[in-house]
């Protein structure tokens, strides 16, 4: 990478991460003013994971995330206006308002969807990966889960099954230190989730989840292993959520100073320091802010989800 390219590459990552950040900050505002209803889970602080991963993923790869999935969707290229509209309960082109913040899908963008049952996306990603192997598409199924999800049985069933059936599945564990309001270490005996992978004979790596390039490199390696030798791979990305678990979380459980410390290591601050060109990063932020305003504008003109369509499309076959 030449000295000229480097900043461009970093600025592009910065722009993507900042887009997610600013999108979610806007979502917070929309919640506050009542344009979004219901509980919402933000990935503020964890943007480097989806952005780093998506930089190396291909259109043919299938991604599944959790309820904390706005970042993944945006990194996969889901249009912001559509996403705003979906969260606002409007007749969005994504799910017509049916998914909402915690359970929307955008398969046209290689995003099979969020999932609001902890751990439940892993079996589905396994199937998506299996299909890709059958179809000889040289593509993977990638699923992002939280660290707490490693305690769901279906995740372990899937890890073992992926190894046994030789399926190109990549599991990204976003270890953000918390499982809702409980610190992760109180709930997980394993010293590291990579050890769990080892038990299934699955290769794995522990990465700095606040560094998009480190995440990208890990996903690149995982993808190569998955496609090249049809073997699953697990990535544990260490990161930190800078906001509450969900929109109503008062975060009384945080030890004093924790957030301040985390803010020094968070991906945008860190990357800005690396880029070390305030003018350039300021320009990015300004551009993103303009873009977001426009997209929100478009979203606001999408009509509310039409109650007359509420019963449409439950089945492919005859409705009754």
């Amino acid at each position: 990478m030449s000295t000229l390219e480097a900043p461009a590459h970093l600025l592009a990552l910065y722009e993507q991460m900042y887009t997610i950040r600013a999108f979610e900050e806007q979502v917070m505002e929309l919640l506050r003013i009542g344009e979004i209803t219901g509980s919402t889970h933000l990935c503020i602080g964890q943007e480097a994971v989806p952005v780093g991963a998506s930089a190396v993923l291909q259109a043919s790869d299938a991604v599944i995330a959790t309820y904390r999935g706005h970042g993944w969707a945006i990194a996969r290229g889901v249009p912001l206006a559509a996403l705003f509209a979906e969260l606002m309960g409007r007749a969005s082109v994504l799910c017509d308002g049916r998914g909402g913040s915690a359970y929307f899908m955008a398969p046209d963008h290689g995003f099979l969807g969020e999932n609001s049952i902890v751990g439940a996306g892993v079996p589905m990603a396994l199937g998506a990966a299996l299909a890709r192997r059958f179809q000889r598409r040289d593509a993977i199924g990638l699923v992002s889960i939280g660290d707490g999800a490693m305690n769901q049985g279906a995740v372990h069933e899937s890890l073992n099954m992926a190894a046994v059936l030789a399926v190109p599945l990549v599991v990204v564990v976003e270890n953000n230190g918390y499982v809702e309001m409980t610190p992760s270490q109180a709930l997980t005996a394993k010293p590291a989730h990579v050890r769990a992978a080892a038990a299934y004979g699955i290769e794995s790596v522990l990465v700095d989840g606040n560094d998009p390039d480190a995440v990208g490199a890990a996903v690149e390696r995982a993808r190569a292993t998955a496609i090249g030798s049809q073997r699953p791979f697990l990535i544990e990305a260490e990161t930190h959520r800078l906001v509450g678990h969900y929109s109503g979380d008062l975060q009384a459980y945080r030890p004093p100073g924790e957030l301040d410390a985390a803010r020094l290591r968070e991906p945008l601050v860190r990357l800005a320091a690396t880029i070390s060109d305030d003018e350039a990063t300021d320009a990015v932020r300004a551009r993103v802010a303009r873009l977001l305003a426009e997209e929100l504008d478009v979203a606001r003109r999408v009509p509310p989800a039409n109650p007359e369509r509420a019963l449409v499309g439950l089945y492919a076959g005859p409705e009754r």
């Binding site: 979004i36 209803t37 219901g38 509980s39 309820y67 309960g89 409007r90 017509d96 308002g97 049916r98 998914g99 909402g100 913040s101 915690a102 359970y103 999932n115 609001s116 049952i117 902890v118 751990g119 439940a120 707490g148 999800a149 305690n151 769901q152 049985g153 279906a154 499982v179 809702e180 309001m181 409980t182 109180a186 709930l187 997980t188 459980y253 509310p304 989800a305 039409n306 109650p307 007359e308 369509r309 509420a310 019963l311 439950l314």
Partner: protein
Amino acid sequence: MSVVEISYIRAVNEALAWALARYPESIIFGEDVALPNGPFGATKGLRARFDERVFDTPISESAMVGTALGAAVSGLRPVVEIMYGDFLLVAMDQIVNQVANARYVSNGALVPRLTIRTQQGATPGSCAQHSQSLEALFAHIPGLRVGLASNAVDAYEMLRAAIASDDPVLIFESRRLYAQKAAVALDGPLEAVSGSRVVAEGGDVTVVSWGAAVSDVLTARTALDERGVHATVVDLRWLSPLDLNPVFDSVARTGRLAVVHEANTTGGFGGEIVARVVEEMGSQLTAAPVRIGARDCRMPAAPSLSAALLPTPDRIAAELMTLVAPTGAPAS
């Protein structure tokens, strides 16, 4: 007698505190119930007061329910919180194949003295995986007791009854009612796990309901009252054991039956109620019974969509009016 004006969720909290104080063998566990005081506050202060008898678990619902069963048959009295009713499905094998069988198959040698608390229902914006009303699945399972509390008083009394019972009891709370207040007598006599209740009387139609839908029925009933139509409302409270005597008594007078529940209609427990009433006293019905439930559909997140599917007070009132005055002529 200490009567306090408290919210539904606080009533749950008081019942749990009562149980911990009364039964030294009781334990309470679930996700975020101890140090974080419970995702909805049901367990607030209990860890501080009862120490390790209240503890947090990993997100492992199967292991949680199985743990409750193993602990129960070993002499403890566990109360396990499943955060959303939808997550019961993750633990379904443990609930049905394990918990429900223990007493019967062991011929009484195992006593599955445990309570599973959860909350369910749709609220605006809640996604399809956090909004189902699933009581019918469990009311079909012999060996389980199933109750739904429609108000703070029942939240307190039914939960106490559940914990005191030697049978495995599944209590469905309603998060949309958690903030509703009522006057709750904290030291009243302990109820049994049984009994439905007539919550309003009227001679024109008998409306059977349970859980959160009861409050919607009562809203609809007020609208009906204004139009001169008077409904008896029976809050079933327990689907198992099922106490339909007040329903039979009322239908004998009104001749008209409606069942209202938030769960989708087809295969819901409303069918059971209709069938029982018809089997018992079909000839006394003067009109075809009506079931009012959510439309048979997944629950969409957009409030405009979910409102179109749920049995809202308006829809309940309209359907009851049609039942009472099928020709469309105003009844009065």
